[in-house]
Structures are given as C-alpha cells and as structure tokens.
Amino acid sequence: QLTVGFSQIGSESGWRAAETTVSKGEAAKRSVNLKIADAQQKQENQIKAIRSFVAQGVDAIFLAPVVSTGWDAVLKEAKEAKIPVILLDRDIDPSGKDLYLTAVTSDSVHEGEVAGDWLAKTVGDKQCSIVELQGTVGASVAANRKKGFDTAIAKHANLKIVRSQTGDFTRAKGKEVMESFIKAEGGGKTICAVYAHNDDMMVGAIQAMKEAGLKPGKDILTVSIDAVPDIFKAMVAGEANATVELTPNMAGPALDALTAYKDKGTTPLKWIQTESKLYTAADDPQKAYDSKKGLGY
C-alpha cells in the first residue's frame, strides 16, 4: 500500500474543499493512504509539511503550491530522499525542472481564453461593455485568468472591459463590487456582460443584478470559471450563461501517473493538463448540478 503525503493549501473556497474531498475519494478508490497536511494558506507551513513528509519517509508527495516560487530548496531535499513529487493544480517557477515528476494542472490562462472566446462568439458584432470581477490581488490564478481573457477579447474590437475590480474570490465581495459597478454604469443598462474569475463571485454578482431589477443571463451575459454546483443552479434558473470547468479531480490523474511510475517505471509527461470544459445552458445544467453537488463544494 502506498503512502502519499499531500500538502494542501488550506480551505479558502468551496472549490478547495471539493478538491480535498475528491482527492480523499480517489485515494480510497485506489487504496492509497493519503496524509493531508493543511497549510492555512501559508507557504512556510507547506515547506514545513514537506520536510516532515520527508522525515516520515512517505512514498510520494503531492503538492498544491500556494505560490509558484520558492520551492527549489525543499524539493531538492525530497529528491535527495528519492521521494517523487507531483504538483497539483498549479505549476511552479521556474517550471519544467527535474525537481518533480509531473504536474497535474489546468492552464488558467487557457481558462480565461475559453471564457473570452465564448463571450466573443455569443455577442457577435454587437458593441459590448464588459465588467470584470478579479480574484485576489496578487494571486497568480487571478492574473492568469485576466491575461487569458484579455488575449481572447483583444481580437474583437467591439468587446471592451469598462470596469475591473477585485472581488477577492468571495461571494460577498462579488456582490458588493457588482452593486457599485451597476451604479457606476448608469444602473447597469450599459453593461452587456460580466466576467468573473470564479463562480462564487458570479453568484454574488447575480444577486446584485437581481436586486437592482436587472435580469442576469438575459439583460447581462455572465461567464465565469470553476463550474461549482451553485452556478449550475443559476443556469437552470436562466440566470447564468456559461462557466469553464476547473476540475477538482487533480489527484486521480496524479495517482494514476504515480502507480504507473511505481509499478512499471513509466515516466509520465511533465505536464498533465486537465480539461477546461465549457458549460452553457445547452449542456444540461441540472445534470451537471446533480453530479457535482455531492463532491463537497
């Protein structure tokens, strides 16, 4: 039986909770012993946790890095102890080094692009003023999702981001920021679409729009990222238009790669990219909701 140490970031969002739950499930499915150390959002704690995994002599280490930099020294220690490291949901800097076996991540720039492309296609040639709800200032996911979306809409002169503020990835802040956007944009009449870096902020924004007497999903298009259950609920109600999935199942592919490596010695690809699937109202949101709601979001 394999013992895997998993240095998880913490519990800052529903998505993160789901990732933890799914990872446990995937490990149980393969009867792997998964030890999860929670870092409370602190890199220091992750470094300490990895050191302690090395000291305990685990068979492999999964790392969901809270930031992309600063891992060289501690990963070197793991390498010297001949413990393979697999990165989950985020790559590290400088990437591609031989300090880790493989990285199971989504491409967050790509997620932004998928969202942007969908919006461009849906709007067509109409003029469209977009408001953007950014993630936490300084978080790399937020920067990447912004970058991807910006690239996608740069090709279309009719799409323009008119306002962009941080909603800290939370519902409450998403709602508050959207409220002020609506006031600043003439009661929301000039807003054609909202792009949120995650679904939680969008759920908040949808409430703000409804309270302002607007019809989200109809008057104002919505596109966001993560595909958490609640956004599907909104989709079912016709209040949300699109979301890009970030799968919480990073551990499954990682465990597969690990068993293949341990049993047969096959070296996996350096990057196992998870799919950034686009969901719209056409994709049976009710079914998606049912399948996701038990995952611990």
Binding site: S11, D38, S52, V67, T69, D93, P94, V137, A139, A143
Partner: protein, 327 residues
C-alpha cells in the same frame, strides 16, 4: 531579578511542552526537530525582537507583516529585474525600512496618534506598495541565495543549523544586549512605564519613539530578507497576518502589552512555543483544515493558561505590598 521570573516561567512552559511532544512522537526529541524549529521560525524570531521593543515602550506595530512582504518583492525585483548585487539591494532596502519606521514613529509622536492606527495605515501602505511593484511572485536566482541556503552547521543527530537560524540567534543576542544593557533599552522600559514621567526626567521621547519604530521596521526588513532566503522568491502576499503571530509570540514570552515589562529572551521562547505548536500539528498530520485551526487555538490556550497558573503560583509566595504597582 523580578524581570527574570516571567522568562523562567515561559522557559518552563516550553520545556514542558517539548517533553509532552516527545512523549507522544518518538522522533520528536532530535536535533533535527530543534534545528528545524530555529530555521522555520527564523523570520518570526527576528520581527518579534523588534516588536518586543515596541511593545515594551507601550506601542504596537501592525505593519511588520506587510513590511516583510514588501521586502521580499523589493529584493526580488532589484536583484532579478534591475540586476543589483544582493548586498546593495539589502542596504537600500534597510534604508527604506528605516525611513518608513521613522515616519510612523514621527506621526505617532508629533500628532499624538495611537500607534495601533498609525501602524495599521503603515500596514496598508507597505502591502499596497508591494502590490504596485508587482503582483506576481518572482523567483530569486542569485548565487548568494544558493550559497546561503546550502550553508549549514551539521549537528550530531542529523540536525542542521542553517544560516538564517544563525542570523536569528544573532539578532536575539544583540536585541537582548540592546534592551537590557544599554541606555536605549532603559529608556524603552521607562517609556512603557510612564511616558510623561519619562519625558519629565529629561528623556527625549520624540526621538526615542522615532528610533523604536525605526528599529522595528529595520528588523522587519531583515526578517523579510531572511524570508526571501527561506523561499528564494519575492511575493506581494507573503507573510500576511504575521503581525498577529508576532504579537502573540511576544506576549506569550511574558511581555506586557501595556508596556514597561518584558524581555528579549522571553520573546525568543515565545516564538519557539509558537513553533512547537506548529510542529505538533505537523507531526500529527491527520488534521483537516478546520481541526488544524481549532487545535492551534486550543494549544495556544493551553500554553497561556499554564503560564498564567505558574505566574499565580509564583506570585503567591511573594508578599503583596500596599501601593505596589500591579502588573
């Protein structure tokens, strides 16, 4: 003498805690764990020494966590983007930190404003400025950084006394001397005892205030440099919330938040106790995110309650005199 006794109590609490951990986890009592305790908490130890001065003088400094964040970004950008030699970058940074601390101290003194609020604004400024500089995390690849992270004095039993641990020990030693054996230190205690009396005794409290906050910011800068050694990167969100850990460490170390009493060694022990709590949780390794938080709280309470009980016991044997200034 009476200044020592809270320190003794904190030391006893630490030893008791360590013994309990060792009983529970067989591998715990090793030089490796002790060395890791020093390395992992090096930056905390350094800022906490600065905070000790501030708190003993009757103030508080909430900006230190942000100053650490600012430092890592500043150092990373100057070395990696501007190509400055690391030592030059450090020198510029420490000058900036000194100016920042001096500015806070000056506002506190000249406008007679509560330190809590001025340094809270300082916290926003430092964090905000690091956002403005860069929101991405920047890896530092300078050879000095590899050299520092490779350095270490091997201890019997597998432990390694790293460079940053040594820096912290040096800061603690220097801080102790400055606090307990110099005029500056005596003035710090005096200000915490009674600010206006200190002024009436001819101490220039304005310049003292400026210098105390300067010291705190400079030590936070050094802690930031140590943090950048630790992670070899600069990141605007690093060390969020460290100010609270620091204050907790200082107070656990027997320093009174109302000022006038405390010690550098006590603070060092307070930092170690905080580290011990972390290590305990890591060794346990089965706690979910929320149980980790709850356990941290419970352990914090246990340590403080233990300390409080010991203080009471120690106090009982002493005669309480009329008119004595109570703690």
């Amino acid at each position: 003498m009476s200044r020592l006794s809270p320190v003794m109590i904190t030391a006893l609490v630490f030893v008791a805690g360590f013994a309990i951990c060792s009983l529970q986890f067989p591998n715990f009592a090793s030089t490796r764990v002790v060395a890791n305790l020093l390395t992992d908490n090096a930056f905390l130890g350094i800022v906490a020494i600065g905070m000790t001065f501030v708190i003993i003088s009757g103030g508080i400094d909430l900006s230190v966590g942000s100053v650490i964040g600012f430092t890592t970004v500043f150092v990373a950008l100057s070395i990696e983007r501007l190509g400055l030699p690391p030592l030059l970058a450090f020198a510029i940074l420490l000058v900036l930190c000194a100016a920042f601390g001096a500015a806070m101290g000056a506002v506190i003194h000249f406008f007679d404003m509560p330190p809590f609020i001025v340094t809270l604004a300082g916290m926003f400024v430092a964090r905000g400025t690091s956002f403005l500089m860069s929101t991405e995390s920047t890896p530092i690849t300078a050879p000095l950084y590899t050299a520092v992270s490779d350095f270490g004095i091997a201890l019997p039993g597998g432990g390694r006394l790293t460079a940053i641990a040594l820096i912290m020990l040096a800061v603690v030693a220097a801080g102790s001397v400055l606090l307990h054996f110099t005029r500056f230190g005596a003035n710090v205690f005096a200000m915490g005892g009674n600010r206006s009396a200190t002024a009436l005794m001819g101490v220039a409290i304005g310049s003292m205030t400026v210098r105390i906050y300067m010291l705190s910011s400079v030590l936070a800068g050094i802690a930031g440099i140590v943090f950048s050694f630790y992670t070899a990167a600069g990141y605007s969100l690093s060390a969020v919330g460290v100010e609270l850990d620091t204050i907790a460490a200082v107070v656990i170390g027997g320093t009174l938040l109302s000022g006038g009493q405390g010690s550098a060694i006590g603070t060092f022990l307070g930092v170690l106790i905080q580290g011990l709590i972390q290590s305990y949780i890591n060794f346990d390794g089965t706690l979910s995110s929320w149980w980790t938080k709850i356990a941290t709280g419970i352990l914090l309470f246990a340590f403080i309650a233990l300390q409080q009980a010991m203080v009471r016991l120690a106090g009982r044997s002493r005669t309480i005199r009329a008119g004595e200034v109570k703690a």
